[in-house]
């Protein structure tokens, strides 16, 4: 099964990368990293995936896709899919996933990840908390209850270290059975 990772900053991207390096997604099909630029004016703010150093993280994924051009001209923090049927197709095409796939997020209730959870109700959701305050200052949106219904077994927290030894990450995974 393909796996889509959603990252809104370098830290969540690194957290996903650490999980992959730790071998958590060895059995996954395609690994797609969806990056979102949540700056107040994304058009004027370089994305965190732009510096060439990001290549080390990008290399762990089969594909890196930017969210902003997909939902242009709307802002990722307030965008809502008006017509889910259309958007499901758009996202599948942009992400390059066809069959069922899993979602790995740092938070299931914060946009824009919450919107993907809503768009793909059948996708199993895994949560990797970002290592530090990367969370966005918006109230939780989206189907909290339905996400909780999709959470299966709680994994023990594990410590993993990023390749360059700079960042310690606490990872917590929810997996459906």
């Amino acid at each position: 099964m393909d796996q889509v990772f959603v990252a809104c900053g370098l830290e969540s991207a690194a957290a996903h990368a650490a999980m992959i390096e730790a071998g958590r997604y060895r059995t996954a099909g395609r690994r797609v990293l969806l990056v979102s630029n949540n700056a107040p004016i994304p058009e004027l703010t370089p994305g965190f995936d732009e510096p060439k150093e990001f290549a080390a993280i990008a290399a762990l994924f089969d594909r890196v896709v930017r969210l902003n051009p997909i939902i242009e001209p709307y802002h990722p923090l307030v965008w809502r899919p008006a017509d889910p049927a259309v958007w499901t197709v758009t996202f599948r095409e942009a992400l390059g996933v066809s069959g069922s796939f899993g979602l790995t997020l740092t938070s299931p209730t914060e946009p824009p990840a919450a919107m993907l959870v809503e768009l793909f109700p059948d996708a199993p959701v895994q949560i990797v908390p970002a290592p530090s305050g990367e969370t966005v200052p918006t109230p939780p949106v989206g189907p909290v209850a339905s996400v909780l219904g999709r959470v299966g077994r709680l994994r023990q927290p594990a410590r993993r270290r990023l390749r360059h030894g700079l960042l310690w990450l606490r990872t917590l995974t929810f997996r459906p059975d």
Partner: protein, 320 residues
């Protein structure tokens, strides 16, 4: 000689200038001239522009010796513009990267006098796509046929200067200057005159201009003051253009637009002092009565019942 000149009027815009300069930098190409005209700002604007010049030596920078207002500032910048094509940018707005290239390519492809685009209205994080009110796209149109008469809003009344690009080789220079006696809404009669005196225009579906609605101090949503009433001067200019055109349906459309804007200001009169409110009623009445009776009746007939009722009472105030 540049290919494209973009005029950026700036007044006490220090808060927005870093973003403005970033969008200019991102859209700059060889052959593009960006003219920043500082209308005698009293905040950090001059210093910010000076700093920017170190890394962007190609910026054309003008500073007014006193506060000229936006119309005169644009006219002064126009004298410094050496591009064949002309466009505008407001200091608090920004482009999608590549927007200027696409707009320039559009006017070159169609070879029209001017090209108009859609845009995105920004309110905080919220964005709304605003389409130019013309369903016919990517087709050369006769500007003089874009006046729709009463009952509908047409592209002539889409008063966004920056949602467009203008060919200075095809448009007479005097059509591009602004009426300096107007302190607000000078763009509205500017567009009327442009549409009345040019030969070709095209509307394209580009929407890479982000217009920050929440920061416009002259907007109707903002607090009222004595200059709020200056909108009447701009609409009087439109009336004069319509009358001079000799076309009855232009006069009707001008009357219709006048009714709508007067009604809008009346509905928002609470933001004005009592004296200004009665001034608004008196001057609005005098203004609406200045239209020829037949045109005004047709305009009124096209309005919703409630608006018609209110405006008829306003008309009675100063009927001679």
């Amino acid at each position: 000689m540049s290919e494209l000149s973009v005029i950026v009027p700036v007044h006490n815009a220090a808060r927005f200038l870093p973003g403005c300069l970033a969008t200019i930098r991102a859209n700059y190409r060889d052959g593009y001239q960006f003219i920043l005209i500082d209308d005698h700002s009293s905040d950090a604007t001059p210093q910010l522009i000076e700093q920017a010049q170190e890394t962007m030596p190609w910026l054309t920078v003008l500073r007014n010796p006193e506060n000229y207002g936006v119309a005169r500032s644009r006219n002064r910048a126009l004298e410094a513009a050496d591009g064949r094509y002309l466009s505008y940018l407001d200091a608090d707005d920004w482009y999608q990267p590549g927007h200027l290239d696409a707009t320039l390519a559009a006017i070159k492809r169609f070879g029209a006098d001017f090209v108009r685009t859609d845009h995105v209205r920004v309110d905080g994080l919220w964005r709304t796509i605003v389409e130019a009110p013309e369903p016919v796209r990517d087709t050369v149109l006769d500007p003089r046929r874009q006046f729709g008469g009463v009952g509908r809003t047409t592209i002539v009344d889409y008063p966004f200067l920056w949602a467009g690009i203008y060919d200075r080789e095809r448009i007479a220079p005097e059509l591009l200057t602004f009426d300096e006696s107007l302190r607000t809404a000078a763009d509205r009669p500017w567009f009327w005159r442009l549409y009345l005196n040019t030969e070709s225009t095209v509307v394209v579906g580009l929407r890479g201009y982000f217009y920050r609605k929440d920061s416009n101090p002259s907007a109707l949503t903002q607090a009222g003051n004595p200059s709020t009433l200056h909108f009447l001067d701009a609409y009087a200019r439109i009336r004069d253009l319509a009358v001079a055109s000799g076309m009855p349906h232009h006069v009707e459309q001008a009357a219709y637009g006048a009714c709508r804007i007067v009604y809008l200001h009346l509905m928002k009169r609470e933001r004005l002092s009592r004296e200004l409110q009665s001034e608004l009623f008196r001057r609005s009445s005098r203004f609406l009565n200045s239209f020829e009776g037949e045109a005004m009746s047709r305009a009124l007939a096209a309005l919703p019942f409630r608006q018609r009722l209110v405006l008829k009472r306003v008309l009675r105030l100063e009927r001679s």
